[in-house]
């Protein structure tokens, strides 16, 4: 796919999304979000620069984009009120973020000019007095020091572990393909029955759409709200 900022570092999923839309010179609408969804998904699939602590946020936006994109791909899909809300929210959120991204650039330029106001050192020239507080003893020192220690942020090892367990999109597609070849037909529910968390379900769905796009599988849904059936496309 033709996009040329693989190595650029984005401030987050909204930043990436905004960049994609602006590159295409589009307004922020549901349609334009659907339009750039592929590029977004491609980016997070290929990009190893996404910081670990941001991956969850990138995936959360991915899941909203998948909703939007799947509406275009599978018009028969019905959305819950909550999902409709999510789709609308993403456009609004992006609009809001754009305002502040622009404001940040303006502030950055003002700061760069270096027209700083300087203040005086507080009470400079005033001589010091020894004025100790009453009612403070050495155990208060311990108490306040302990409270300071408890506020020091612990570098989270947890997040790293979660991320390590999540399969990449690539792996998931391979997985699905193998599984499909064995079973020929299966449902989306079956695929995700072994999912351990939301991210896993999202990745599965993402992979499914990806395979529809690449014409590896056919998707079939008999009726609204019924199971989505996946089939390996028969080669004609």
């Amino acid at each position: 796919m033709a996009y040329n900022f693989k190595l650029e570092k984005f401030e987050g999923p909204l930043d990436l999304l905004l960049e994609l839309i602006e590159k295409e010179e589009l307004e922020i609408t549901e349609l334009s979000l659907a339009h750039v969804a592929n590029q977004y998904l491609e980016y997070i699939r290929n990009n190893e620069n996404i910081q670990l602590d941001n991956l969850a946020e990138f995936l959360s936006v991915a899941s909203k984009l998948i909703l939007i994109k799947s509406r275009a791909l599978l018009p028969i899909l019905e959305f819950t009120e909550e999902e409709e809300e999510e789709i609308k929210d993403l456009a609004k959120q992006l609009e809001e973020y754009r305002k502040f991204k622009e404001a940040a650039m303006v502030l950055g330029k003002i700061a760069q000019i270096g027209k700083i106001c300087y203040s005086r050192e507080g009470f400079s020239g005033v001589r010091t007095f020894f004025y100790p507080p009453e009612n403070i003893n050495i155990f208060d020192f311990k108490k306040y020091f302990l409270s300071v220690l408890s506020e020091i942020p612990v570098i989270e090892k947890l997040e790293e572990e979660i991320v390590r367990e999540v399969m990449t999109l690539e792996e998931k597609i391979n997985d699905l393909q193998n599984f499909l070849r064995q079973r020929i037909e299966m449902s989306f529910a079956e695929i995700t029955s072994g999912a351990t968390d939301k991210i896993d379900v999202i990745i599965s769905f993402l992979a499914m759409l990806e395979m529809v796009k690449q014409r590896i599988i056919d998707v079939d849904q008999q009726e609204l709200f019924r199971e989505i059936k996946l089939k390996v496309k028969t080669v004609n």
Binding site: E11, P13, E57, Y97, F100, A104, C117, Y118, S119
Partner: protein, 180 residues
């Protein structure tokens, strides 16, 4: 109280203190009433807004005296200023959100940026560009707001002087919920 006398006293207080001073503190020291002081500050800010070498910064219920940003180049030579680190894009985004929309919680900043901001907020707090106060609605949480250091860095005397302050400081979504 004689308003010229009060203005004069406020000038002296700001000069000696050097740091931001609360209006309530000025009231305590001068014995003047809060509205009188606020009025005197307004007049002073007007007098100091010209080409003079000094300006008066205001933010919420605090004021500070500083040099005119036009003279930054001259003053720079006088003070052994700490190296002015450039602000990263993340820092600028968080700063602009807090400047236009603060005081606000970390969650509210993150809702706009779509990413975790705890690291950036911490570094801005340490650099003194952002301040935090306890959240009256949540005794374990904080509210973040802009500092005088930030105003000084941009060379403006109040947040209202930020570009597009009127429009950007309004949250349309909140307004629509409130039915405005």
């Amino acid at each position: 109280m004689d308003s010229d006398k009060l203005k004069s006293e406020i000038e002296s207080i700001l000069f000696i203190s050097g740091e931001p001073v609360k209006i309530s503190r000025i009231a305590k020291i001068t014995g003047a009433k809060k509205p009188e002081i606020e009025n005197a500050i307004m007049v002073l800010q007007g007098e100091y807004s010209g080409q003079g070498g000094l300006i008066i910064l205001t933010k919420e219920d605090e004021i500070q005296m500083a040099t005119n940003s036009e003279n930054a180049g001259i003053v720079d030579q006088l003070i052994k200023s700490e190296i002015q680190e450039n602000l990263s894009r993340a820092a600028l985004e968080v700063l602009s959100i807090v400047a236009y929309r603060g005081p606000m919680t970390r969650m509210e900043v993150e809702a706009i940026r779509g990413v975790n901001c705890s690291f950036t907020l911490r570094s801005l707090l340490m650099r003194g560009l952002v301040e935090r106060i306890e959240n009256p609605k949540d005794n374990r949480g904080y509210l973040y707001k802009i500092s005088f250091e930030f105003l000084k860095k941009l060379g403006i005397d109040s947040v209202a002087k930020l570009p597009d302050f009127e429009t950007l400081s309004k949250d349309e979504r909140i307004d629509s919920i409130l039915g405005n």
